[in-house]
């Protein structure tokens, strides 16, 4: 017994001592995932797309600039508090990026990351005001903030039926993410002459929206805009169909329009629209590389039918931006092993124009993203896609956001954010 105890103690000790070791010569690009919990169905696809792109780079090019990448996962279950624990667990390991996959987590680490010199990239989510690079040197929300996205959606509606005198219901997941675009509605409502009503859906009620849709049926809005995630999306579409709300007047943001949300409903969801910033399908050389080098040899957790779907491709685009930032950082510093601070500069120098996208083998997957010191949003545009019963397909050209509206709002929000934070580090851009 004693011997057993001693040997157990020793083995536990050696085990512990290996924990602290960090790996030399690799680019640590962790992402916060949620393969468990209420948002797992969406979270799994998002996690796979990101991981697979980096694994593909490792297989095909031997990493970035000859250094292998390590897309380590930290499981959060979409809980903000666990996200903070994830963040803390990477301290001292030289992570090159904070990739939270959750607006709630983003808000929690927004103040910490500058102190630890790690940039935060929130691809298509996060705090809208982070688009202001001068105030938020360390946060990036390519290709567009939620506010920009909302204005694009509104201009789409304006072009379809006109907005004046219309009533819009805003159905949103009642967390930081869903509440984020409300200021745009408050600002634009009086200006463009539409009325809006808020229909918050708590996480607990996500799969039971009958009362929310009862409200919508009673109020008879002309359009319903949804900021949903996880099981909330499919439930909402199902309820909309059940209450006979015209689905072509129901439009989700880009996190509410994935295959996982509509596939189970099939033809019942036909006509439902959503915003997007990435294309679907596998007809891109880089995606083919991911299939041949990573998915087919079984090096990934992805199944073949998942590749090319909305969330998978979008997550891959996120990985492309991170990889590109590292590439830019390596070019600028001449070092192979870059730091978080270098990658931050890399993110600002990002120039994913048509030529570069073609070089990466991704033509048509996403619109160009051009970063700069002042603009951390990249002037992305929003496309509207529609579900035809079997697949998602774009129905519009990219719709640019209303910059004249969003710009001043972002400036004010950024100023508000730092108003009660003495010692906040901004940067000057010229």
């Amino acid at each position: 017994m004693k011997k057993f105890l001693i040997s157990a103690l020793i083995s536990f000790g050696t085990l512990l001592s290996t924990v602290g070791l960090s790996f030399a010569d690799e680019l640590l690009v962790p992402h916060y995932t949620y393969r468990v919990g209420p948002f797992a169905a969406n979270g799994t696809a998002v996690a796979n797309g990101y991981t697979d792109y980096f694994l593909m780079l490792n297989e095909r090019d031997g990493g970035i600039g000859g250094v292998l990448t390590n897309p380590e996962e930290c499981e959060t279950g979409y809980k903000a508090q666990v996200g903070v624990e994830c963040y803390e667990s990477y301290r001292g390991k030289n992570p090159l990026i904070v990739y939270p996959n959750s607006t709630g987590i983003t808000l929690q680490v927004l103040q910490k990351a500058p102190e630890d010199q790690v940039p935060i990239l929130t691809m298509g989510y996060g705090l809208s005001a982070a688009a202001k690079g001068e105030t938020f040197p360390w946060a990036f929300n390519y290709p567009a903030s939620y506010w920009s996205q909302m204005t694009s959606v509104l201009s789409y509606i304006d072009s379809e039926t006109g907005l004046k005198g219309k009533k819009i219901a805003f159905l949103f997941l009642d967390v930081g993410y869903g509440r984020e675009p409300i200021p745009v509605l408050d600002e634009l409502g009086p200006k463009m002459g539409f009325e809006h009503m808020l229909v918050p859906v708590a996480v607990k009620e996500m799969q039971n929206q009958s009362s929310h849709w009862l409200t919508i049926r009673k109020e008879k809005p002309d359009w319903v805009i949804m900021w949903g995630w996880g099981a909330m999306n499919s439930t909402a579409i199902k309820e909309a169909a059940k209450t006979r709300y015209p689905l072509d007047r129901f439009i989700g943001n880009w996190w509410s329009g994935a295959h996982v949300d509509t596939e189970a409903l099939g033809m019942k969801a036909k006509g439902y629209k959503s915003a997007t910033f990435t294309g679907t399908g596998t007809d891109y050389p880089a995606i083919q590389d991911m299939i041949n080098l990573v998915v087919k040899p079984g090096k990934s957790k992805t199944t073949m039918d998942e590749v090319g779907k909305v969330l998978y491709n979008r997550a891959a685009v996120g990985a492309v931006v991170v990889a590109e930032a590292i590439h830019e950082a390596q070019k600028a510093t001449g070092k192979k092993n870059v730091t978080g601070a270098d990658v931050r500069k890399g993110l600002e120098m990002i120039k994913l124009d048509d030529a570069r996208i073609a070089e990466l083998g991704l033509t048509g997957l996403f619109a160009p993203i051009i970063g700069s010191c002042a603009d951390h949003e990249g002037k992305g545009a929003v496309t509207i896609q529609q579900w035809d019963g079997k697949d998602w397909g774009p129905i519009t050209k990219p719709i640019p956001p209303m910059e004249d509206v969003v710009g001043p709002m972002l400036t004010k929000a950024a100023a508000d954010y730092i108003a009660d934070k003495p010692g906040w580090k901004s940067q000057k851009c010229n």
Partner: protein
């Protein structure tokens, strides 16, 4: 052999009543304090990175011990069940945030203590039903407190200063020229602040519990009618237990947001967290201060270590480890409750008793 009272004679009542009547206990507590105050901040825990040790293990454990102390006072000593601990932590956090933003020059430690007082008041308010109902019915009443407060944290934007994000976040706060809270503060500094709070609050709790007030709580717990006949007023006893407990919980909530997480939204105070704190109390041992420490350490540290070791040493996927740690924790709770329903504190007590007799048990 090392732990026995032979030869330690007490000649005064005061010595008999001391918190640590045995010399060995004094040495033990001294070593623990030395470890917590000197060894860990200097060297960390061998094998784990220093930052990780402090921010992911030590600070949360210290904060959750304060929460557990608070809940244990209510549940273990006064016998009043509460499922609203998470929300009461939220009261502490939000009131601290309001105080900090309304009086930006006020020292943050004073804010934390004041927010504890605010929570004590709110706790007393929700403790009022305890005068009429007990057991399961009281549990439901505190559940209502949980849901009501969660609702308030979302629907009353004044509480989070009309932030778009709906969350609260702490700015940098200085004391004696050192940043002790906020994003620029060092983990070590924050750890020292939390630890000092814990030591002082433990000292306070152990004295209150051994005193008149604590005894009246235990009398109410054991048999309220008998207690009333002896002359304990249920009104003051129950409400003081709610107030005292909420004071601790409120302080731990404020510490959690401003000395650990840095920011929080309502999700950090939801009912699942209330259950976690309940587990800590039950696993540690109802009605025991040592148990609070053990429960908080076990429930918090084991999953964190499992995840970290599984990830870095065995290369398991993060989500596998996450699921595994959930399963293991549940399993552990069941096993501990079957093997020792009185919690870890009871095991510790038995061990001490055995040591006293060793090597000639009878």
């Amino acid at each position: 052999m090392f732990y026995r009272e032979t030869g330690q004679f007490k000649s005064k009542y005061k010595e008999e009543l001391a918190a640590f009547p045995l010399f060995e206990d004094k040495i033990g507590i001294g070593i623990l304090l030395l470890l917590a105050y000197v060894a860990i901040p200097l060297f960390g825990i061998p094998g784990l990175s220093y930052e990780f040790t402090l921010s992911a293990i030590m600070i949360p454990v210290v904060i959750f011990t304060i929460t557990t102390l608070g809940l244990n006072i209510l549940l273990g000593f006064a016998g009043q069940i509460s499922l609203g601990t998470g929300a009461f932590m939220g009261v502490g956090a939000y009131s601290c945030y309001k105080l900090m933003t309304i009086f930006p020059d006020l020292n943050i430690l004073i804010c934390v203590i004041l927010s504890g007082l605010v929570t004590a008041f709110v706790g007393m308010l929700f403790g009022l039903p305890s005068l009429r109902i007990k057991g399961f019915y009281l549990m439901v009443a505190t559940l209502a407190a949980q849901f009501f407060l969660e609702w308030a944290f979302i629907r009353i934007p004044w509480l989070y200063n009309y932030n778009n994000s709906g969350g609260i976040e702490g700015p940098n706060k200085e004391m004696f020229g050192i940043i002790i809270s906020g994003p620029q503060s060092e983990a070590t500094t924050r750890y020292f602040v939390c630890l000092t709070f814990l030591v002082l609050l433990t000292w306070l709790a152990s004295n209150v519990i051994r005193g008149r007030i604590g005894r009246s709580w235990m009398m109410i717990r054991d048999m309220d009618i008998a207690a009333e006949l002896i002359g304990v007023r249920p009104l003051t006893a129950k409400l003081s237990a709610f107030a005292f407990s909420s004071f601790y919980v409120g302080i731990s909530g404020a510490l959690m947001v401003f000395f650990w997480l840095g920011a929080a939204e309502v999700e950090s105070f939801d009912i699942n967290h209330s259950f976690t704190y309940l587990f800590m109390v039950i696993i540690g041992g109802l009605g025991s201060i040592t148990g609070c420490y053990m429960g908080a350490i076990l429930v918090w540290v084991i999953p964190v270590l499992i995840k970290e070791i599984g990830k870095t040493s065995f290369g398991y996927d993060a989500f596998v480890m996450e699921n595994l740690s959930i399963i293991l924790l549940g399993f552990m709770i069941v096993v501990i409750l079957i093997v020792e329903p009185h919690g870890l504190a009871r095991l510790w007590q038995i061990a001490k008793q055995k040591l006293r007799m060793w090597p000639f048990p009878y």
